[in-house]
Amino acid sequence: MARVQLVHVAHTRSGDKGDTANVGVIAYDSEHYDLLCSQLTTDRVKAHFGSMVRGDVERFELPNLGALNFLLYGALGGGGTMSLMNDAQGKVFSTALLRIEIEVPDEVARAVQGRGRLPPAG
């Protein structure tokens, strides 16, 4: 097994509902959806965000789309117009989750190397 950053395995999209941020996580390769399910537990995601998320973390599965949806409660400093955050509507909140490291089989780690990042110039 090897540890890789989520950014190489999935892409994400986030948004807001009041003080709740949603983080959608989509496997680049739908064969890796099960890996996301086993690695991205609510406990791990909650621990990853630490003080950035004051409330609970809830997870929903969308196997047809190879995707997970997380709701992060109390993540946006009161949300909407109340928030003093630069990212008051959680538009890029999901990119913070891309930093998390997950455990994958060695062959997966080799296959996803460089995925999700701008290829080197030239």
């Binding site: 999209r13 509902k17 009041g18 949603n22 989509i26 789309l65 117009t81 890029v92 290829p119």
Partner: protein
């Protein structure tokens, strides 16, 4: 597909108030469409419009919509493209009147009908509703609205597609609503075209998914698309989404041939997950859609087929969007340069806080971020390196009293000559004090709202 394979094309022209002004023009001119939906409203937008109406009773709607229609009105009438929009915001009547005037200027008088939907505005009825026992409890905190009643500025029910369908039946070419739910701008025309009844829950749910894919404009066609973003073609002329829907609810997401961006399984999936709650229970005024039932087939050539969608019967409640004044805030910024940029910014923040403290100012919240280091990833960014070329100090405060926020805005610029060195970026002057219009989502029985909805269709 049934219905002789007929498809209805609903094109998206605006994803929010402030979106690409040329996009609706490209949608009308770039190829065949049947409907153009323009979504201008978000939770925050209603609060902003409310502030504008408080200053000017003729304001309170998406003003961009009127000059836009002046441009495209003749082409829409000529081609039979019908426009459905929630540009009316908190003043749909004012919006419809300005639209009719724009239509006359554009030369469509006698050839066009404007539909106006009112009745979503609950403000005038608020006290009687509260008196009748509708507590309008906050959907997240559970608190009853009476706690902030005297500070409420607006209250609008998210309404469904029925008034849109009625206006289309009356022959409206352009329909202006207030707080119509975003997705209804897409599935309303589909219910009208295909005669879907309220118990056709799977078809309406499919229309809701189509609406969700349409409602944020280019966010489903390559804009803000994370996957291989550097390869998205010609974003300068990005094509906005078009859904081609059949009578059975199956549809294809695409865009005009030759336009920029791309429609792929990944681009559509990203948009499907945007602002998603529990995907099995996507509640709208007309149906509950199950987003876990969605099947996507990427057919290539910027076409993604969407099918398999199931729905369940609607609830007895409508969501209400309430805005209430919740104090004041301001945000000040200064830029610090290398060497030790972040250390200087943090030192300036300490000086600022000590001065505010000595002035005896108290805030409900004060927040410091370093833009260029931690404003989006917080503590996950770690400690900034000493060689960071530059960083922007961003300090925000929030308080019930305007005076203390006002005083805060006068304490930023002095730091330039009285604080740590290598600072710039203050040319914009003092930060602006903003009144906070906070959002209070609640539920109300649909039976007390829907009888009050009025559809008015008039010749331009």
């Amino acid at each position: 597909m049934s219905d002789n394979g007929r498809v209805v094309r609903v094109a998206s022209g605006q994803g929010f108030w402030g979106d690409d002004l040329e996009a609706p023009v490209r949608q009308v001119e770039g190829g065949p469409i049947d409907y153009l939906m323009l979504d201008y409203l978000a939770e925050v937008t209603m609060s902003i419009m409310q502030k504008q109406r408080a200053r000017d009773p003729n304001a309170g709607y998406a003003r961009d919509f009127v000059p836009l229609m002046q441009r495209i009105f003749p082409a829409c009438i000529k081609q039979g493209v019908r426009v459905v929009t929630n540009a009316g915001g908190v003043n749909p009547r004012g919006c419809a009147e300005a639209l009719a005037e724009a239509g006359r200027t554009a030369g469509v008088a006698g050839h066009a009908k404007v539909g106006l939907v009112t009745g979503d505005d609950l403000m005038d009825r608020l006290d009687s509703l509260l008196g009748e026992g509708h507590e309008l409890r906050h959907m997240e905190t559970g608190a009853p609205l009476c706690e902030v009643r005297e500070r409420v500025q607006s209250a609008n029910a998210y309404i469904g597609a029925a008034p849109i369908v009625r206006a289309l039946e009356f022959g409206a070419d352009v329909i202006v609503t207030g707080r119509s739910t975003d997705t209804a701008l897409t599935y309303g025309p589909l219910m009208h075209e295909f005669g879907w009844a309220m118990d056709d829950v799977d078809q309406i749910a499919a229309g809701v998914v189509a609406g969700h894919i349409n409602e944020c404009g280019a966010q489903s066609t390559g804009g803000n698309c994370m996957i291989d973003w550097w390869q998205v073609p010609d974003l300068a002329a990005v094509g906005f989404p078009i859904v081609e829907v059949g009578a059975d609810g199956k549809f294809v997401v695409t865009k005009h041939h030759g336009s920029g961006g791309w429609v792929t399984r990944a681009s559509v999936t990203e948009q499907i997950l945007y602002e998603m709650g529990d995907p099995t229970t996507y509640i709208t005024p007309d149906v509950i859609a199950d987003f876990t039932s969605i099947q996507l087939d990427d057919q290539g050539d910027d076409r993604v087929r969407v099918h398999g969608i199931t729905g369940r019967a609607r609830t007895d409640f409508l969501k209400v969007s309430i805005a209430y004044s919740a104090g004041w805030k301001a945000t000040g910024t200064l830029t610090y340069s290398w060497p030790d940029a972040a250390a200087k910014a943090k030192a300036a923040d300490r000086v600022l806080r000590e001065r505010l403290d000595r002035l005896g100012l108290r805030f409900d919240e004060m927040r410091t971020e370093l833009v260029g280091w931690d404003s989006t990833h917080g503590a996950l960014a770690g400690e900034p390196p000493a060689d960071l070329p530059e960083v922007q100090l961003r300090v925000g405060v929030r308080a019930d009293e305007r005076a203390s926020v006002e005083r805060f805005t006068r304490e930023i610029a002095p730091l330039v000559l009285t604080g740590p060195p290598s600072v710039t970026g203050f040319a914009g002057g003092r930060p602006r004090v903003q009144e906070i219009m906070a959002y209070w989502p609640a539920l109300i029985e649909r039976s007390v709202v829907e009888p009050h909805l009025v559809v008015d269709v008039q010749e331009v």
